[in-house]
C-alpha cells in the first residue's frame, strides 16, 4: 500500500492553515512531516507527497526547503508522485507569483519524480511565474493576501483532483 505524506513547515501560518484544510479534505492516512526536520531517508520513505511551498521575497524558496535541496537533488525519485501547493501574492509580487512551486517542482522532476495536481491559470492576475508549465500551474497557488475567500474552495477541489492522480 502506498504511503502518502504532507510536508510543510510547522512554523508557518498560512501554509500550516492550508495544510490543515488539505488534511481535512484528504480524509485518509496522510502523515504530517515538518520539513524543517526532514532527512533524505525520511523523505524517501513515501510514495506520494503533498508539499507546502510558499514563495519568499522576489521568487525564492523558503530556507527550510532551500537547505534541503542539496540532498533532494541527489535523490532518485522515479515512481514517486508530488503535488505542490504554495502561498503567493499576485499583486505584491506579480513578476514571481508562486515561483517557489516551480523551482521545487523542477528539482523533483529532475530527480525523476512526477508532478500532479496541476491547476488552470485562470482567475489570477500576474506577470510571470516559474510555476507555469504551458498554461497551467504545476501545483496549487493560494493567494491569502488577495483571494483569501477562494482558498477553501480551491483546496477542496484540488485535493479531490490529487487523490485521483496519486497512485
Amino acid at each position: 500500500m502506498s504511503k502518502t505524506a504532507i510536508l510543510y513547515s510547522f512554523n508557518t501560518q498560512k501554509t500550516s492553515r492550508a495544510a490543515k484544510m488539505i488534511i481535512e479534505n484528504y480524509g485518509k492516512d496522510l502523515e504530517e512531516v515538518n520539513v524543517e526536520e526532514i532527512t533524505a531517508d525520511k523523505f524517501l520513505s513515501f510514495d506520494n507527497y503533498i508539499m507546502g511551498v510558499p514563495t519568499w521575497w522576489d521568487g525564492e524558496l523558503p530556507n527550510y526547503w532551500d537547505e534541503f535541496i542539496p540532498d533532494l537533488e541527489e535523490l532518485k525519485l522515479k515512481g514517486k508522485t508530488f503535488a505542490l501547493y504554495g502561498a503567493g501574492d499576485q499583486k505584491g509580487y506579480p513578476e514571481n507569483f508562486v515561483d517557489a512551486i516551480g523551482i521545487l517542482g523542477s528539482v523533483l522532476e529532475n530527480g525523476g519524480g512526477k508532478l500532479v495536481g496541476f491547476t488552470k491559470n485562470e482567475g489570477y492576475e500576474f506577470e510571470s511565474s516559474k510555476a507555469l508549465r504551458g498554461d497551467d500551474f504545476c501545483g496549487l497557488p493560494l493567494d491569502f493576501e488577495n483571494q483569501a475567500r477562494a482558498v477553501k474552495g480551491k483546496i477542496k477541489s484540488w485535493v479531490e483532483q490529487v487523490k485521483k492522480e496519486f497512485k
Binding site: W57, N63, E95
Partner: protein, 680 residues
Amino acid sequence: MSENKKHHIKKTDKETLKKWFHLMTLGRAIDNKAPNYLKQAIGWSYHAPFAGHDGIQLAIGQVFDKETDHLFPYYRDMLTAMSAGLTATEAILNGISKATDVAGGGRHMSNHFAKPEFNIHNVSSATGNHTLHAVGVGRGMKKYKHKGISISSQGESSVSEGYVYEAINGASTEQLPVLFVFQDNGYGISVPKKDQTANRKVADNFSGLKNLKIFHCNGKDVFDSMNTMIEAKQWIIDNQKPAIVQANCVRMHSHSNSDRHELYRDENERNYSQEYDPLAKYRRLLIRYKRFTEEELLEIEAEVKAEVKVAHKKGLAAPDPDPESIFDFVVPEPYVSEKYPEGLHNGEGEHKKLIEGLNETLKAEFRHNPDTFIWGQDMANKDKGGIFNVSKGMQQEFGIERVFNAPIAEDYIMGTANGMSRFNKDIRIVIEGAEFADYFWPAMEQYVDSSHDYWRSNGQFTPNVTIRLASGGYIGGGLYHSQNIEGAMASIPGVRIVYPSYADDAAGLLRTSMRSKGMTLFLEPKALYNDPLAAAPVPDDFEVPFGKARVRRKGKDLTIITYGNTTHMCVSVAEKLQTDNDLDVEVIDLRSLIPLDKETILASVKKTGKVLMVHEDKVFGGFGGEVSSIITEEAFEWLDAPVKRVGSTFTPVGFNRILEKAILPNADKIYAAAVDLAEY
C-alpha cells in the same frame, strides 16, 4: 539561480568553506560591534550595516582579483571590502576615522571602505556616483587591452539615479568589461522598491540594452552568489561586454544608525528579515551536510572573537589625523615650467588665433604623450572636431581610440574621465565637458565629487583631467550659450580654474594643464576664438604656470583686474583713459583664478591705490567679490578708494542683442566705472 555549480555545499573544499565562514563571521562581528563605537563616542557615526547581504558581498570580494580587477564598493560594503582584502584592523581604522585609515586617513566618512593600493576604490557617498567611475575604468581596460573587469557594487535604489542609467547605457554602447552588482534589499533608506521603479527587479529595466547580460541570484545564499558572480565575471571576460548581477538580499537592520526601521517596517517584516540571516543559513548548511562539526565552528568563532579584540586594540591605539594636515592634498602639485617660469615670452612672428593656439597645442601634446585622450560631444565625426572645431583634425591624426565622441550626457563625460584616470595614473584626459559651459550643469555631481577625490583619498588618487568649456557671451547666444560659470565653480576646492584671453596664454595654460596631475577647469572665451584681438605669437613649446597673472599694461594711477573676454575691453579702456584723461592704468589679466596670483594683485594695489575689478560673470556672487575681499583684508591701508566692480547684472543673459548689451559688461561701462573711481 545560477546553473553553474562550481561551488556546492557538498563539493566545495573544506579550506574554502572555512575561509568563507571565517570572513563572514569576522565581518558580521565588526558589523555588530560598530554601533558600540558610536555609543562610546569613539566614532563610526555613520554605519550602514551589511547584515542580510552576506552572500553576495562575500562573493564580490572573492571573485575580485586585485592584480587585474578594480572594485567600487558602496557604503554598505564592509564584507565586500574585507572579502576583497581589507583587514579587520583596516575596517576599524576606517570606522573610527584614524590617520592610518587606508581609505583616506580619516578624511572620508566612516563605513566607506577602500584600499586604493588593492584597486578597491575610495568612492563618494552619493549613491551610485561610482558607477560612472567603474565604466571609466572599463574604458581604460579596453583601450589598453587589459584583461580584467571593473566591478561597481551598489544598492538597488541607486539605480533610480539618472547617472547610473547613463553609466550602464554607456558600458553597453562602448562594450566595456564592467560588472554592475545591484544588492537589492528592498529599500532605499525607508523608500520601498515600489516607489523607485515599476519593476521589482530593477535590473530588468535594462533588458532592452544591447551587449548586456543580466544575471539574478540569491544574495543571501553563499553558493548561489558565488556561482553567479563567477559565471558573470567569466562571461564578461569571454565576451568583453558588461553584465548586471541583481542579488536579492534583505536588510536585517535599519538603513543606518540615523534610521529607525521600526517606524516603517512592521514586526512581522522585521522578524522575517531576521529569519533570512545568510550567515545563520550558511552555518546550518555546514552542520547539516557534515562539512564541519559544531565544535569546529565554535573554534572558528572563538578565533574571530580574539581577532576582533586585537583589531579593536590596534584601532584605538592608532593616531588621529593631524589638524595641521588639512591643506595637504587639496590640489596636486602641477607641472613646473623650467623655460617659462613666469609664463611670459618674447616670441615674435606670426600671430595665431586663439582657436589655432588651442588646436595646435592639443595636437602637440597628443604627439608628446601617447597616454592622452580626448572626448566630448561633437568631438569626432569626419571633419567636425568639437562644437567650435577646436579639435579639428585630431581624430584623423590620432585615431578613434584616442579621439572620440561621447553621448549627449555631460555627467557621463565627466564621470568616465574620472574613472579612466583611475585605471592608470599616467593617463591624461581632455574633455569637452559640454557643448557650451551653460550645459555643464548636469555634470556637476561628478565635478563636485571629482573635486573631493585627491583630498578624500589622502592623496592616493586624483583625476588627471582637463575640462575644456566654451564660455561666455557676446555672440547673441542667450541664456544657454552665454553663461559664465566660474563664479560658482570657484567656490569648490580641489580644481584649478583658468580663463585665458589670448592665444599664447591659452596654448601655454593648456600645455601645463595636460602635463599636470589633477583637475583643471579650462574656460575658453568662445567669442575670442577667431577674434584678431586675441591673436598672438605662440612659441611652439610655450607654457604658462598656474597662478601667474600677466600684466597686460603697466600703470600707476589705477589697477584694473580682469580675465577672459573683458581683458581686451579693459586694455582698450586703459588706452582711452590715457588719451582722454591722462590716467595711467595698469591692466592685470589674471589668466588663472585658482590658484590666484595674489602677489601680483597686491603689488599693483600698493602702487595705484585704486582697483577696478572687471569680469563678464555676474557682479553679485562673481569671482571679483573674492578678489575684492582679499584686497580689503590684505591691502586696506594702501587703498584710496573702495574696490569697484563691473560685470553682468544679476540676471540671466538675454537672447535679443539689445538685452544682451544691457546685461553684459562692455567698454563703455568699464570706462564709466574707471572714471568714477579715478575721481573718488
